[in-house]
């Protein structure tokens, strides 16, 4: 299905948020997710179903002061 991830449209074969993370090669990495404007903690990913057109932001920590 088509999802809007980090500002771009992507075709992702996934039913849950955990699968989205897996398909993007981000499993086990310190990534934080926001779905349609709501923060989704990692414990919720497995049970959270995704549907076409969802807007997903995936962020992580980078160097900064």
């Amino acid at each position: 299905m088509k999802l809007i991830i980090n500002g771009g449209e992507r075709e992702v074969d996934a039913r849950t948020m955990a699968e989205v993370i897996d398909r993007l090669g981000l499993s086990g990495k310190p990534v934080v997710a926001e779905v349609d404007g709501h923060v989704l903690v990692a414990e919720e990913w497995e049970a959270f179903p995704v549907s076409p057109g969802m807007v997903i932001e995936l962020v992580h920590f980078v160097g900064g002061g």
Binding site: N6, G8, L26, V59, V62, G63, G65
Partner: protein, 268 residues
Amino acid sequence: MLKDTWRIGECEMTSRFFLGTGLFPSPFVQQEAIAASGAEVLTFAIRRVNLESVEDDSILQHVEPGSFTFLPNTSGARTADEAVRIARLARASGLSDWVKVEISASDKTLLPDPIETLRATEQLVKEGFTVLPYISDDPVICRRLEEAGAAAIMPGGAPIGTGLGILNSYNLGLIIEEASVPVIVDAGLGTASDAALSMELGASAVLMNTPVAKAKDPVGMALAMKLAIEAGRLAYLSGRVPKKRYASASSGLESMMLKPASAGDFGS
């Protein structure tokens, strides 16, 4: 001398050096500089994952978990709403409920927007965050932020990354004098004497990134900053002498008076 510790919320600290993690030439140099600094608090930024290149480029892979308190910042935010959003994302990582509110109002100076910073602080305090706002060195907005529930106030010495040092030590001194939460001098420092001056003015701590990361020898500069912070703190606790307009002899004028020599003194 008693152990000189200080607190933010429930967190008791020995080090008075918050170190930023940006701009280091390599992860190795960064780790060495962190070790040399003795810092217990590290700052980070939050950015979108680059989906075209998902190798693990998170800064966290280079930092030993559990060793530090993490202070994520909201850099890149232009409004209170954006800062709150970034803070919520940072907290969802489970690493920290501390947040450095940083809302820039100008690309040229990166000076903080005081109105938006106050709004974000009010909201994040309501949501239970430990809020440390980066703000300009204005005593009035600093007081307003404290009233809003900020756990510490972080006035800048000069604009971010300029290395200009402390541009207004009068304002900074006034902020420190009036605050009942820790004051952490954040941004604009250039070298060790700037860190020492911050502490001599009575700051609780100093937050730096660029002057360490962009030094010719970041590890050496991290140690220099650590020592300067300690020296400045000790000088503050010990109390400097008042400044005077004119000289005053330290050995007493009486002892300087030598009798004029007579011919007999030199023998024959």
